[in-house]
Symmetry: C2
Subunit: 264 residues, 2 copies
DNA sequence: CAGTGGTCTAGACCACGCT
DNA sequence: GCGTGGTCTAGACCACTGT
């Protein structure tokens, strides 16, 4: 009987002791990513605890992002997904590509190293008045007409990110840029702005992380215990903000952001 | 009786319906950050559910980072903490300050806008052989002697971040830099390297997010439902890596990272 | 069908914070 | 002392996945 490892009289709650043991067995490699861990029934016998307590242990490991549960199948060590490297340098590559006659490749496709046909894009375009946040980012008065464009990007690996990108309406009204049918636009935002005669000279990104909202978990297929990274991006032409992406939302289990700061 | 909002025969589990209602009341502002939400006993009566179900709803909101529970006191909408802006530009400021005779201020203090005396630093220095990861980051053979320095930074607001910063031992052996007693070093890493005759010309940062490990939750005082942002940083002099911070760990509820990409 | 995790109840006892 | 959340049990029934 291995239940000796659990001490019911310890100050540490039984469910945490059980979780500690499972965590150790996971991080030590005894259970590898994708492996199943013992069923709740097995834990009852092995650790000598009730089912509720066993479930509480699993819930803890789930919140830590260590395991996922699949109804009717079992509990598994969370598999590692392929990580997409999103580099700040991609904007430079986009700029350099503008008008060079190459086949279309947006930042998104180049980040993946995937071809044009392998991704899908859902989009919704709406005209809205500038919210206080948008007004500040775009340096326009509150209420200024804005073209809000919501995107969801998919690859063969499933949904990858959501974003909301906004242009001041006066920049794009009546141009092909305002037509959702033209998405995905070859060359991305920078090429799009270039057709309007606008040269982006600077991009700022503000990075945060938080737990996803329920609708984001559903839309992006995010398992329990996995946070999202959010990016607020502003593109500037000189000192003038020309685009603001208020909420780029990316599941943190499939992305890493890379930045370079030059000091010379 | 307000319990009409719960439909026990719905496909949606009761505890999720309860959580939905509480979430709505939180995001709508009915419960503001810092406010207490109804006790488990009150939920039993108000929603007509058992205590276990009420607790399950609270557990869900906790995992989402919306509420925190305090034993013996109650359940509260998670208060917002002051956000520290960590800009990539801080390295430029550090560089510009080297040797200018100003009072000591490291990146960390400038980020805060706080004074020298308001932060505390725990550090442990160890000599280790380069792990495969360190070897790659520092472009040295595996096993190369490394000075590993572990830090924990505190302000009056509590612990703020942990980091592990590594120098190739040959760069720093026998110099004041290798002495923990000299930390915190006025001017930070860049000034430290400058005393060795090394001019850092480039910094790369790799940003990720994940849920904290139990020891990190304890050391950094992280509530349930709050992820950590991790940064892997490399400082380069020309093409030569001179410092690698393998794991900068920052609770995501008190930081935001800012980056600028110049395209001209 | 058997085995798995998901939902829910009723109840007991404990630990903590406040008054 | 009283109200709060924390731990734990035994048991029932449901829903899903596999054979």
């Amino acid at each position: 009987m291995a239940r000796v490892i659990i001490d019911p009289r310890s100050d540490r709650p039984v469910y945490k002791q059980v979780a500690d043991d499972l965590r150790r067995r996971i991080t030590s490699g005894e259970f590898a990513p994708g492996d199943s861990i013992p069923s709740e029934k097995e834990m009852e016998g092995y650790y000598g605890v009730g089912r509720t307590t066993a479930r509480q242990s699993v819930a803890l490991l789930r919140a830590e992002g260590l395991v996922i549960t699949e109804h009717g199948r079992g509990t598994y060590v969370r598999p590692r997904l392929p990580v997409r490297r999103l580099s700040g340098e991609r904007y430079r590559a986009d700029r350099d590509q503008i008008g060079d006659g190459q086949p279309p490749a947006t930042s998104f496709t180049k980040d993946q190293g995937i071809g044009w046909s392998e991704y899908r894009l859902d989009r919704t375009f709406t005209e809205i008045p500038a919210t206080p946040e948008l007004a500040e980012l775009l340096a326009v008065p509150e209420g200024t007409p804005i073209l809000e464009r919501r995107f969801t990007f998919h690859t063969v690996d499933g949904p990858q990110q959501m974003s909301t990108s906004c242009y001041p309406l006066e920049l794009v009204a009546g141009t092909p840029v305002a037509d959702p049918a033209n998405e995905p636009w070859p060359g991305g935002n920078l090429a799009q702005l270039a057709t309007l005669g606008i040269t982006v000279t600077k991009v700022t990104e503000r990075v945060r992380a938080r737990m996803p909202m329920p609708d984001e978990m559903a839309a992006l297929d995010i398992p329990a215990g996995v946070p999202v990274i959010t990016v607020t991006r502003v593109m500037l032409a000189g000192e003038r903000p020309v685009e603001a992406a208020v909420d780029i939302v990316i599941p943190a289990d499939r992305v890493e952001l890379n930045y370079t700061i030059d000091l010379d």
